[in-house]
Amino acid sequence: MKALRKLFDNIKPMVEEGGKFHAFRSLVDGFETFAFVPNQTSRTGSVNIHDAIDSKRIMSFVVIALLPALLFGMYNVGYQNYLAAGTLGDASFCDIFGFGLLAVLPKIIVSYIVGLGIEFVVAQWKGEEIQEGFLVSGIIIPMIIPVNTPLWMLALAVAFSVIFAKEIFGGTGMNIFNPALVTRAFLFFSYPSVMTGDDNVWVAQHTIFGLGNDLPDTFTAATPLGEAALGNGLTDQWSAFIGLIPGSIGETSVVAIAIGAVILLWTGIASWRTMGSVFVGGALTACLFHQTGVSPLSCVDQLVVGGFCFGAVFMATDPVTSARTSCGQYIYGFLIGVVAVLVRVLNPGFPEGMMLAILLLNLFAPAIDYCFVQSNINKRARRAIKK
């Protein structure tokens, strides 16, 4: 530890203004603040003591909350491949998980390298510290795309979203749309064939380092939502709950997501108001459609399949892009649930509606807040007139 401290102390003069390696200031700064809590003390004119919480801690806990879903997603990638090849019985847990790990890891690495790379460059350019927001987006992105998405597409989409959905607004805390969802939307509208297409995108089809199985090119596997769009109901609710169904990498397991939800709610990072009302809105709308016979999926089916849970727990609750007033969060969440199911059921072009619902409500979150803030403003104005 002392050696590390010494190393940073030696490197620092080189990257400061006028130093030989000034171009790497943000990089060294980023690593230093990860290794050591900054020793900077509060300035006079501000509070002298501070709570130990900072955005690094918060973002790390979101990543921790995401891990169960990610690890399960890796296992499911392997499971789906072996299941499709019919060799599930011969495969050990290590084979299945190892295959999934090898299939998913490159996506995580690409997502982080591209996204954090851009963050470092922007931080250097603006003379600021690295912002931690992408630590979360960078791990969410691989979890909400199909396993067969090519890496170059992923890189392109990540670059697009980090630059155009985040940095041009001023970085983490200033963005209007959730950057991870913008990445997915970019892929979804630019390369529709690899995002839903012919249902051959959800299951990994090639062996990796001898693990897994080669599947025939004609192999297809639809997600439960794809089936529902064709009018078929959910056959196995239990697998959908556990998560052993085709789908985007991290979204399938309700159990794993629930563990993450508990972590987020217990630490208070995610708003229970938002999360709860997404489920309420979704359940009520799903019930309505099921009762009237429009959708074959029941209320519970709608909530356990697709990205509903993942979106409700990890994406709708993004504090930056969701409503900020506590009353506004109820409405914001509720409408996400309603719109997500609405899109799923009524629009034949989109079997999944969570992404579109959250992006749409991201856009409306400031408008929802406006109503509540304005009522406070009006109250103050009325008070002044009354006197």
Binding site: R5, T41, D51, G173
Partner: protein, 442 residues
């Protein structure tokens, strides 16, 4: 029976080193100083020269815009130095004490406002909006006095009040001749001089910090509207006025709480405004260690040195470790058991009511506002704190007015600044916002 207002929002922080209820004697030093920066919003004009002899109650400087507002010497002696800094900014006026404590006597029969102005007591009155020294030309709608401070390590006013109950009542009575007086009392305070004070409306506040902030009390009792002015006064400063009225002499003695984890025996001491702090700190604090001496409260006070002088509004001197060589490894993922946080990603919720040692580190980098609702949890006013801060950062004056900037002072944001995960300097932001607004509206 006084009205009781229960406050839910807020946070009581348990810090190690609370002052024990005993008063130690402090040696009188040779030199005292009045620091104009303690009186926010004043343009000082020096009215003495080096070498002049002054009595207690003689003006050292006045406000250039309102020369009738005088700032008076706490001791008798010789003006030893008029200290100036960059661009001849007045930093302090130092008075070498003659040890006699001879005071000027004032005619207490005269008009109360004229008396307060003449004796320098008026300078302690602050006004909202802007949280600056009050303007004598204004007609305030009320005067608010908070009889308690809820911040950690703060002075217990009931202890300071002991033996001076009559002076306190005299002060309140005098103030009530200027405007309606509201006295905010804590639910834990039992002194009859507070709960049974006459000539004022007593309101009891029950809740965590910052319930003792006068701004919070105004917001719940009679909020300020645009165009209205409210004056505020510290509880101990009511004693100053009371002493003046009962004796005819200015007496700026405070019962200062010396508290904090770095103080060997936290206790109280009688000190004059402007007294050198080393008289208080000697033997109590290891000055060679990396410590931070705070003139005033740990949440709102300013960093100073042992050679500093007791601030005009300071009711405590807090001493905490500076912590600038802590080199804490990977704090973002370590459990950090001994560290306090309101956030459940740390484990202070497991440790119960423990006294914590805080150093002065910010413990993170400054970010844009990321989390929502953090401020609102500890901001017990009917104001959207986060939105107000954003309006100040963006310089949108109309919106600041609409969101209620006239009702707040920097100190009201102290707890919010403490819990902020984005580490924004809220008090500084609010102070700058108020200064700009005051200039624009002038």
């Amino acid at each position: 029976m006084a009205k009781v207002i229960k406050l839910r929002k807020g946070l009581d922080i348990n810090l190690k080193g609370k002052a024990a209820l005993e008063t130690t004697s402090v040696k009188c030093p040779g030199e005292y100083a009045l620091v104009p920066d303690d009186f926010t919003g004043v343009k000082p004009k020096v009215v003495v020269k080096e070498g002049d002899n002054v009595l207690i109650g003689d003006a050292l400087f006045v406000d250039k815009l309102h020369p009738e507002v005088k700032f008076v010497s706490p001791v008798s002696g010789t003006v030893s130095m008029v200290e100036r800094g960059d661009r001849r900014k007045l930093l302090s006026i130092r008075v070498k004490s003659d040890g006699k404590q001879s005071a000027r006597t004032f005619d207490t029969k005269q008009d109360i406002k004229a008396l307060l102005l003449e004796s320098g007591m008026f300078a302690f009155l602050r006004q909202r909006p802007y949280d600056v020294v009050a303007n004598p030309e204004d007609k305030p709608k009320a005067i608010f006095v908070s009889a308690f401070n809820s911040m950690p390590l703060s002075q217990d006013f009931e202890y300071a009040l002991k033996g001076e109950e009559k002076a306190f009542q005299a002060g309140i009575t005098a103030l009530s001749k200027l405007a309606k007086v509201h006295l905010g009392v804590s639910a834990r305070q039992t002194s009859a001089a507070l709960t049974g004070a006459t000539g004022c409306e007593v309101t009891v506040f029950d809740g965590p910090a910052p319930a003792g902030n006068v701004g919070v009390q105004i917001n719940h009792v009679d909020p300020i509207n645009k165009g209205e002015v409210v004056w505020t006064l510290g509880a101990e400063e009511v004693l100053f006025i009371g002493r003046l009225l009962t004796t005819g002499r200015v007496d700026l003695t405070r019962t200062v709480a010396l508290a904090g984890s770095e103080v060997k025996k936290p206790c109280y001491a009688k000190m004059l405004v402007g007294q050198r702090l080393d008289t208080l700190l000697q033997g109590q604090v290891d000055l060679s260690a990396g410590i931070r001496i705070i003139n005033g409260n740990v949440m709102t006070g300013v960093k100073t040195t042992a050679g500093g002088y007791l601030g005009a509004h300071a009711t405590e001197v807090n001493v905490i470790p500076e912590g600038d060589h802590a080199d804490e490894f990977m704090g973002w993922i370590m459990p950090r058991f001994g560290t306090f946080s309101t956030h459940r990603s740390y484990f202070s919720w497991l440790c119960g009511k423990k006294d914590y040692v805080f150093d002065a580190r910010v413990k993170g980098g400054e970010r844009h506002m990321i989390m929502s609702g953090e401020y609102d949890k500890v901001f017990p006013m009917d104001i959207y704190a986060g939105y107000l801060i954003k309006a100040i950062i963006t310089g949108d004056i109309d919106r600041q007015e609409a969101l209620g900037i006239y009702e707040v002072a920097p100190e009201d944001f102290a707890i919010a600044e403490f819990v902020d995960s984005s580490k924004l300097e809220l008090q500084r932001i609010v102070r700058q916002g108020l200064d700009i607004l005051r200039k624009e509206n002038a």
